[in-house]
Structure formats: structure tokens, C-alpha cells
């Protein structure tokens, strides 16, 4: 599972502007993060993963030197209470579907950051999938106020 260097070849071929990545048949769209407030020990990651194949896959692990631990969190903000819990078995990527992690919802969580995240930073990370192998991606760090506009726009 870890020995798939094919994914790396796709990265080299991917145009920089589109900020998309590919692991096998999976497309990882626009991974972003947000600048962290002063001294914060945690950060968030957002992205969309498109699985156009007819078989289920799963994001099992994320590796990056930026934090001690990186988890996927299911997050709800309902009835005036914010809750999150670790998706211990990774992020399911059902066949023929698109999964989006975005501000105000499920997210990637960088736990125990080694350094603050600043707008303009690019976080190097490896996404490891159950079937599609692994791929190097970069999370573009947006300003603290930047991702917010998107969050307040989503209709509930």
C-alpha cells in the first residue's frame, strides 16, 4: 500500500495553479488550511476528494511534519452546540461520490503543531488511501479571516 510511487508521478504532472492532486483514480481538490491564532496548538485542513471509480476507498492516514498527529474529525454544530470526534477508521470515500471537508463541518485536524500556520504557507503532507495508494499534497494556508467568508455563506 505504501510503495505506490505512481502517485508521485501524477503530482509532477499536475499543473500548479489548479492545485489538484491525483492518487490512482482519486482526485484531491484544493487542499487548504487556515492561519492559526497566536500560540494555537491545533489547525484545520480542508479539501475535496472525488472518487469516480465504482469501488469504495478510504483515506486511512495523513502524514506531515507540521504536526505531531493528524486526524480526520467529524464535526457538528447543531442546537447551539459544537462537537467533534475523531474518525478513527479514517474517512470513507464511497464509490462514485465526492467528499468535502470544509470550514464549519468535518475537517482534518493538525494536532500539536510544531509551528504556527501563517497565511501563504504551504504544508507538505502525504495522504494514504486504502486502495489508491499514497500521494504528496500541499495544503495552502489561507488568512484567518479568509476561509470565514466561505463558512458564513453556506446556507443551513
Amino acid at each position: 500500500m505504501r510503495g505506490l510511487f505512481l502517485a508521485g508521478a501524477f503530482l509532477l504532472a499536475a499543473p500548479a495553479l489548479a492545485h489538484d492532486f491525483q492518487a490512482g483514480e482519486l482526485v484531491i481538490v484544493h487542499p487548504t488550511s487556515r492561519a492559526t491564532p497566536g500560540g494555537a496548538k491545533v489547525g484545520a485542513g480542508y479539501l475535496t476528494i472525488r472518487n469516480t471509480t465504482s469501488s469504495d476507498d478510504r483515506l486511512v492516514r495523513i502524514e506531515s511534519a507540521v504536526a505531531d498527529r493528524i486526524q480526520v474529525h467529524a464535526s457538528t454544530n447543531e442546537n447551539g452546540v459544537a462537537r467533534m470526534r475523531e474518525m478513527a477508521n479514517g474517512l470513507p470515500l464511497p464509490a462514485n461520490s465526492e467528499v468535502t471537508l470544509k470550514a464549519g463541518g468535518d475537517h482534518i485536524m493538525f494536532v500539536d503543531l510544531k509551528q504556527p500556520l501563517k497565511a501563504g504557507d504551504k504544508i507538505a503532507a502525504t495522504l494514504v488511501f486504502e486502495h489508491a495508494g499514497q500521494v504528496e499534497v500541499t495544503f495552502n494556508v489561507e488568512p484567518l479571516g479568509g476561509a470565514k467568508a466561505g463558512a458564513s455563506e453556506h446556507a443551513h
Partner: protein, 211 residues
């Protein structure tokens, strides 16, 4: 039960047994009610606030500048209260950022109210940690690090909610995500939901400040 109603002459032992059985069923029923109440409490939805409810808990806490504050510090002026913690990747920075933007846009009106951020994780969020954290947000926002006891008093007084949730490693907090508005006379004056439009939130703060 209906069958038994006709039986007039019941041996004493049987009556005692029946009384015992009824007593036991009562206990079961009581336990059921107790469990239901517990479930309601632990389901974690904060109690609903009535309009004009008095939000006035007694407490003391240390703010991000190391100053000791009490409920008196915030009395007599409209205020907006938000409960969160710095190990919060998404909801807390987003809300504080939204409050910051609103305060920036309110200009002079911003001075007519106090925005208070109460950490529900004082174990990690010391005043020094809060100071560094709050430097990323509007300078007028007061951040409070209370003791566990004072935190519970504040949370109860605002009908808010928090709970510590263990993780595989460490813990996280779940917490009220609404900004709770309090009028100058200490009464409940509405909430701001994170899902609301920025203009709505700003208008609510402006109205609150103008009283």
C-alpha cells in the same frame, strides 16, 4: 392488575408481597424517570433561555492581561458572551474572527458593548495562553480563564454548555457555539448563531450596544 381488584380477602403474606412488588415497580419507574432526566442533561443541548431571563452569575476569573475580574466588571453595559477553547481548530477561531470583523465595522458603536470569550478549557488555557491567542483578534475582546468552579457558575448562569471528551490521545471539548447577548440590565437579549450572515450578526451587536 384489573383481575386482582375483585379479590377482597387476600392472605396477609400475599398483601405484603403485593405491596413489595408495587414498591419495586415504583422504584423501577423512578429509576426510569431518573435515567430520562440524566439522558436529557447528558444529551448536551443547553437549556433554552426565556426572553428577558436574568443572566447574572457570581464569579471571578483572570483575564488575558492577568487582571482579576468578577461579574461586577461586566455589569451595567451590554455584553456578548462566547464559550470556546484554544485547542479548537474551526468553530472558535471562526466565531472570534466574525466577532472581530463585526467590531471593526461597528466603529464607535463597538465601544458600547463588551465581547467576552470564556475558555471552557482553563486547564490548558491559562491567561498567558489566552493573551497570545487573543492578539489575533479584536483588542477589545476580553478573554477569561476561570477556575473549574467559576467556569461552572458562569456556564450555568448563561444556560450554556460544555463537556470534556476523551480522545485516543488527550481530550477535546464540546461547547455552546452560540454567542449569548446580554443587555445592560443583565437580561438575556438573544443569540448569534455562527451560521448567520455577517450583516445579521453585526446588526444584532449594534442593536445590543445601542440598547
Amino acid at each position: 392488575m384489573e383481575q386482582r381488584q375483585g379479590r377482597q380477602s387476600m392472605p396477609t403474606e400475599m398483601r405484603a408481597l403485593r405491596a413489595l412488588r408495587i414498591g419495586l415497580w415504583l422504584l423501577v419507574a423512578l429509576a426510569g424517570v431518573g435515567a430520562a432526566v440524566l439522558l436529557l442533561v447528558s444529551s448536551g443541548n443547553p437549556p433554552q433561555l426565556q426572553a428577558r431571563a436574568k443572566l447574572d452569575p457570581s464569579f471571578e476569573a483572570i483575564d488575558q492581561n492577568g487582571r482579576r475580574v468578577t461579574e461586577r466588571t461586566f455589569q451595567g453595559k451590554p455584553s456578548a458572551w462566547f464559550f470556546g477553547f484554544t485547542h479548537c481548530p474551526d468553530v472558535c477561531p471562526t466565531t472570534l474572527q466574525q466577532l472581530t470583523t463585526s467590531l471593526d465595522q461597528l466603529g464607535e458603536d463597538a465601544k458600547k458593548l463588551t465581547v467576552v470569550f470564556v475558555t471552557v478549557d482553563p486547564e490548558r488555557d491559562t491567561p498567558a495562553i489566552l493573551k497570545e491567542y487573543m492578539e489575533s483578534f479584536h483588542p477589545s475582546i476580553v478573554a477569561l480563564s476561570p477556575s473549574a468552579k467559576d467556569l461552572n457558575a458562569i456556564v450555568k448562569g448563561f444556560a450554556a454548555y460544555y463537556a470534556k471528551v476523551p480522545q485516543t490521545e488527550g481530550y477535546t471539548m464540546e461547547h455552546s457555539s452560540l454567542v449569548i447577548l446580554r443587555a445592560a440590565d443583565g437580561t438575556f437579549a438573544g443569540t448569534i448563531d455562527q451560521h448567520e450572515q455577517a450583516e445579521t450578526a453585526r446588526a444584532k451587536l449594534q442593536r445590543l450596544g445601542r440598547g
